[in-house]
Amino acid sequence: MAYSEKAKAHYSGELSALRGSGLFKEERYIESPQAASIRVEYPWGAGAREVINFCANNYLGLSSHPEVLEAARVALGTRGFGLSSVRFICGTQDIHRELEQKLSEFLGTEDTVLFPSCMEANGGLFEVMIDKDDAMIADRLVHASIVDGMRLCKAQLYNYKHSNMDHLEEKLQETQGCRFRVIITDGVFSMDGDIAKLDEICELADRYDAFVVVDDSHATGFVGKTGRGTHERCGVMGRIDVITTTLGKALGGAAGGCVSGRSEIVELCRQRARPYLFSNTVPPVVVAATIKVLDVLSRSTDRRDRLEANTRFFRESMTGAGIDIREGEHPIVPVMLYNAKLAQGIAHDLYEEGIYVIGFFFPVVPQGQARIRVQISADHDREQLTRAVEAFAKVEKKYGILGKKKDEIIAMYGT
């Protein structure tokens, strides 16, 4: 037997080390559809309870929207459950092409290709786009999937300090000898909710003859006046060469992602991107439901407007209550606690208060920047938002940190 006692001991040791270092991830069992309020069983066996959900990427509340569910039901009847194929053999239906065209229209790009996830879009893009004579210049806080994509690519890797345009410019100057330079950033950074300076990045890209690639997963559908994304918010629609984004967050939240942008690059992804070529097609139900999501969003900006209003209300209420949040405008609202154990303890106590949030700490965020990431949805009502603020205030008071700022919290709990 190849799976020896030695192997078993090795893997058990790895798991023990994860548990010992507090990095072991436990899953909570949710017994309801995704929504602002959900039924959660945690720990397993404790019985399900109703909690207000503040950790989903369901920004627009479309994950369980009646029109979206109906579109999925119809597609199940007319296009089936699965396609048992990759795209280029017999996995492309009319609706796949329709969704790609609708995404191009929505994002303001030339063409779009669907991927099974944005992780895979980011995993496949760079290898297709650039080679060893080229340079990738990435913001230091880009998402892990971009990091993996860049690792799979032979181009030279440079990175610049987070959102630091002077440092980016230095890197552009250093790489003048390369054939192509690609600036790579998230549109919205997932841990801080801060928005990339795409206007300044595009200026630098023009000046130094570089491409711009943006992962807009935490923006597509709701950032910008009509929800097109960070490029709309920053006034650079049409100037981003490639956008990667997900269907798994605001756009219904089921699965799937895409590469959208310059038509030649998108077509090369169809021809050569390995995660695209060797993964099954996105299921018809997901495709049809996402087409409906885009219809809903193109019909009216009500949901993104409600999300914006909810976010403003929550941010102002939290600050007013004396809770230390990271400033911004995005529905990702980091509640800063600086200490990992404190973040875990407060998240646990909030769950007892019926507020479902998760603590994040090193290595997911930098050392000394532990936090709880609150995510607001268009589907939260004012009562739910107010309950969350009151619960945060109650629990922070218990820990003696309500009304305290960074230095005082660190003085009490360390980092």
Partner: protein, 84 residues
């Protein structure tokens, strides 16, 4: 020579990885990777800088997080490849 190399690496780390307003001290024993100053992603650019500066090639299997975890460790690693 060794002190010069240490100085060079410390200066690079401060310039490349720390914010202008950071009060983080970097000495030859400061934990770089496990201390959260240089993440494994940024380590790639540090490796590339050293390779260019010293005209060497550090094989990937030698470029471990442990080997890059302090300026002292990096200098030990460089000794294998830099022949003065």
């Amino acid at each position: 020579m060794q002190d010069d190399v240490k100085r060079l690496i410390i200066d690079y780390i401060k310039k490349e990885y720390l914010d202008e307003d950071s009060d983080q001290e970097v000495t030859e024993t400061t934990k770089l990777i496990s201390g959260g100053i240089v993440d494994s992603f940024s380590m790639v650019s540090l490796k590339m800088y050293l390779e260019k500066k010293f005209q060497i090639k550090i094989p990937d299997e030698k470029a471990t997080p442990e080997a890059f975890d302090s300026v002292n460790n990096i200098v030990t690693l460089l000794r294998e490849f830099v022949h003065s």
